[in-house]
C-alpha cells in the first residue's frame, strides 16, 4: 500500500522531469492526470481494506 | 470584509510556516533513514482537539501529517480526539501534544474561526 502510493508519486516526478528533458508538452498533461488518479487509487484501496476488517486478519 | 482579508493573511502565513515545517520534517526523516544505527522509538499519541469545524479538523490533520515527526492515523467518532503516530517521540507524549496544541491549532483557528 505505502509502496503503491510512493510509486505513483515517483511516477509523477519522473514524468515531470522527462517533460523537461524531452520537451514534449503532452507528458505534463499526463503528469497532471496521474496526480489526480493516483490519489483516487489510494483512497479506493484503503477503503477496501478497511471494509474487509474482521473477515480477514492480515 | 476586514475579517476576510485578515483570514487570507493568516492563510498565507500558515502556508509559509507549513513549507518551513515540511523542509524540517523531511530533513529529520532523511537523517533517521540514512543514519546507520536506526534506533527511533515510535509512539502513538492521542491529541484532544479544540477545533470543531470539518475544515478545521481536516487542515489540522493534514498539517500534522506534514510536520516534523508526526503522522495522523485516525480521528475519533465524536471528532474530539486525534490519533497521531510520532516517529521520534521517545518515552513521553507530552512534547508532541504541546507542539500541536500551541503550534498548529492556533494558526488554523485564526483561519477557520472555529
Amino acid at each position: 500500500m505505502v509502496a503503491l502510493d510512493l510509486v505513483s508519486m515517483l511516477l509523477v516526478v519522473f514524468l515531470v522531469v522527462f517533460k523537461l528533458v524531452s520537451g514534449v508538452d503532452a507528458y505534463m498533461y499526463v503528469a497532471i492526470g496521474l496526480a489526480l488518479i493516483a490519489f483516487l487509487a489510494t483512497v479506493a484501496f484503503a477503503n477496501f481494506i478497511d471494509r474487509a476488517e474482521g473477515t480477514d486478519d492480515d | 470584509m476586514i475579517t476576510f482579508l485578515w483570514r487570507c493573511l493568516c492563510l498565507v502565513w500558515l502556508l509559509i510556516v507549513f513549507m518551513r515545517d515540511l523542509v524540517v520534517s523531511s530533513v529529520q526523516v532523511a537523517r533517521a533513514v540514512l543514519s546507520p544505527g536506526y534506533a527511533a522509538k515510535p509512539r502513538l499519541v492521542t491529541i484532544p482537539l479544540t477545533v470543531e469545524s470539518d475544515a478545521g479538523i481536516t487542515m489540522v490533520a493534514n498539517l500534522i501529517t506534514l510536520t516534523p515527526g508526526t503522522l495522523t492515523v485516525d480521528v475519533s467518532a465524536d471528532r474530539k480526539t486525534l490519533l497521531v503516530h510520532d516517529l521520534l517521540a521517545g518515552d513521553s507524549s507530552e512534547a508532541t501534544r504541546e507542539g500541536v496544541r500551541q503550534g498548529i491549532e492556533p494558526r488554523v483557528l485564526r483561519v477557520t474561526g472555529r
Binding site: 515517483l10 522531469v17 497532471i32 | 532523511a30 502513538l44 490533520a61
Partner: protein, 138 residues
C-alpha cells in the same frame, strides 16, 4: 543564474525522492514507512516542481507545474491518513519498540453510528454503501 538554481533544486529534490525510496525499504513497520514516503516524497516533488516553474518559458507551462504541485500537496496527506487508518484497524504488526498511549485502544473499534436513513429490516443485515462515520475521507 536561474538555471543554476533550478538545477540545484532538481538535484536536491531527486535526493529526497531517493530518501523516500530507501526509507520505504529500510524502516520496519507501516507507520514508519509512511513517514518516509509522505514527507520526503512530498518535499522531493515540491522542489522539482519549483525547479520546473523556474525553467518555464510560457505562462501555460508555469500553470501546469503549479497544478501538479497543488494536486500532490493536497492529496498526499489524505492518502497517508487513509492508509494509516486501514492499517491500524486491521492490527497490522508494529515495531516492537512502539509505545502507545492507553487512550489509543478505542480507536481500534470505531463506533459505527446507526444509519437512520435506511429501513431497519432483517433482510438488510449490514448497510452496504459508504459508512456514515468518516468525516473526511476525501
Amino acid at each position: 543564474m536561474t538555471e543554476t538554481l533550478a538545477n540545484a533544486l532538481l538535484l536536491v529534490g531527486s535526493f529526497f525522492c531517493l530518501v523516500a525510496g530507501i526509507g520505504v525499504v529500510r524502516l520496519n513497520d507501516v507507520f514508519s514507512r509512511m513517514h518516509a514516503a509522505t514527507k520526503a516524497g512530498t518535499l522531493g516533488l515540491a522542489l522539482i516542481c519549483i525547479a520546473i516553474m523556474l525553467l518555464a518559458d510560457t505562462w501555460l507551462h508555469l500553470a501546469e507545474a503549479v497544478f501538479v504541485f497543488l494536486f500532490m500537496i493536497a492529496s498526499a496527506p489524505v492518502g497517508a491518513h487513509l492508509i494509516g487508518r486501514a492499517a491500524f484497524h486491521n492490527y497490522q504488526p508494529m515495531d516492537p519498540k512502539t509505545q502507545a498511549d492507553p487512550e489509543s485502544e478505542p480507536f481500534r473499534h470505531p463506533v459505527r453510528l446507526p444509519d437512520s436513513s435506511l429501513p431497519t429490516s432483517e433482510l438488510v443485515a449490514e448497510p452496504s454503501h459508504k459508512s456514515p462515520d468518516d468525516p473526511d475521507n476525501g
